[in-house]
């Protein structure tokens, strides 16, 4: 039923476009997230080069380029590239220091890598016609699970069995502690779920909304000015969301890392 409705919307869009003399509009909000092989049209296996792998590679190259070019000059008065690299470095460094503490600075490279990958993936996904890797739960779940397993293993390596005191809230009354332990345990294991779906859900929903409004523009003919203006406003919001979600992902990584380093409430 949903499909036939979508087909009707697409048809009316195509009709309106045909009246306007343009080519047919075939906008389905979720089509932009389809993972397609680049060099063949067969099934996608684990080693197939797809648009997702292409855009993740572009993100990695862009990160490397930005930071290498930015840190090459080291002028006293920084160029734009240099100040961009220095600003992002200082921003994450200060975040790690403030949220996790000074002893967490040795884990800074990983957190910086996470932030740069996510923020550039989000920003490059806003280029029209590109593909957004972070809109896929498969991508964000890997990032979140790496943090989850890394933090858990680190907690046990650094603290031994006393890492389990994280779940035993010593500031609560004794009778409440077993109940709190269950709640803490559940919330600990739910962390990678919310950590990954927050990022993927925000990016996916934002891009889907843009495409829904693009569909309106195709169906409205001359009055397409209204949805186009709305798209412009939503696009500005999406630029903000792209940065904030990368920031939230990184700061939550810092919070989880803090639990591993100092598991005492």
């Amino acid at each position: 039923m949903a499909q036939s409705e979508a087909a009707t919307i697409v048809e009316t869009g195509a009709e309106a476009a045909a009246h306007g003399g343009g080519s047919g509009f075939n906008i389905h909000p979720m089509d932009q997230f389809v993972v397609q092989p680049l060099f063949s049209d067969g099934a996608v296996s684990i080693f197939t080069v797809t648009n997702a792998t292409l855009w993740m590679a572009i993100v990695v190259l862009a990160t490397a380029l930005m930071l290498i070019v930015g840190t090459r000059g080291r002028n006293v008065i920084p160029s734009r590239a240099q100040s961009l690299a220095e600003l992002s470095y200082g921003f994450i460094y200060k975040m790690v220091e403030d949220v996790t503490g000074r002893d967490a600075v040795k884990y800074f490279p990983y957190i910086m890598t996470l932030f740069m990958f996510i923020v550039l993936a989000n920003f490059l996904a806003l280029i029209p016609g590109s593909f957004s890797p972070t809109s896929h739960i498969a991508v964000t779940a890997v990032l979140a699970l790496l943090v989850f397993f890394g933090v858990t293993i680190l907690g046990f390596v650094l603290n031994g069995a006393s890492f389990l005191r994280l779940f035993w809230v010593s500031s609560a009354p004794l009778a409440l502690r077993p109940i709190l332990a269950v709640i803490e345990l559940v919330s600990y294991f739910v962390r990678p779920v919310s950590h990954s779906i927050r990022l993927a859900g925000n990016i996916m929903a934002g891009h889907a909304v843009l495409k829904v409004f693009a569909g309106f523009a195709g169906a409205l003919g001359v009055f397409a000015v209204v949805p186009v203006l709305a798209i412009t406003a939503i696009y500005a919001l999406e630029v903000l969301v792209a940065f904030i979600q990368a920031y939230v992902f990184t700061i939550l990584t810092c919070v989880y890392l803090k639990d591993a380093l100092h598991p005492h409430h």
């Binding site: 039923m1 975040m95 403030d98 949220v99 739910v190 779920v193 919310s194 779906i197 927050r198 859900g201 904030i244 920031y247 939230v248 700061i251 939550l252 919070v255």
Partner: protein
């Protein structure tokens, strides 16, 4: 309009679960409003607490994400 009763229940359930995401927005707004409340009373302390603001927003949002997840599961996995 055809389809079986379980599909109907699935879609209604997904819609109801989606309400939870909207209610989580109330929580996020509450966090931001209270932050602004405190920040305007003591602006010099506000800048150091933005990290706390985002952590609070993230935790409030997490439960909305679970209802969104339930909606997704009902739509695509059941």
């Amino acid at each position: 309009m055809e389809g079986d009763i379980s599909t109907l229940g699935q879609f209604i359930g997904a819609g109801l679960a989606g309400l939870g995401s909207g209610i989580a927005a109330l929580g996020v707004g509450n966090v931001a409003a209270n932050f602004l409340n405190g920040a305007l009373r003591n602006p010099s302390a506000a800048a150091s607490q933005t990290a706390t603001l985002f952590i609070g927003i993230a935790f409030a949002e997490a439960l909305g994400i679970f209802s969104f997840l339930v909606a997704l599961l009902l739509m695509f996995a059941v």
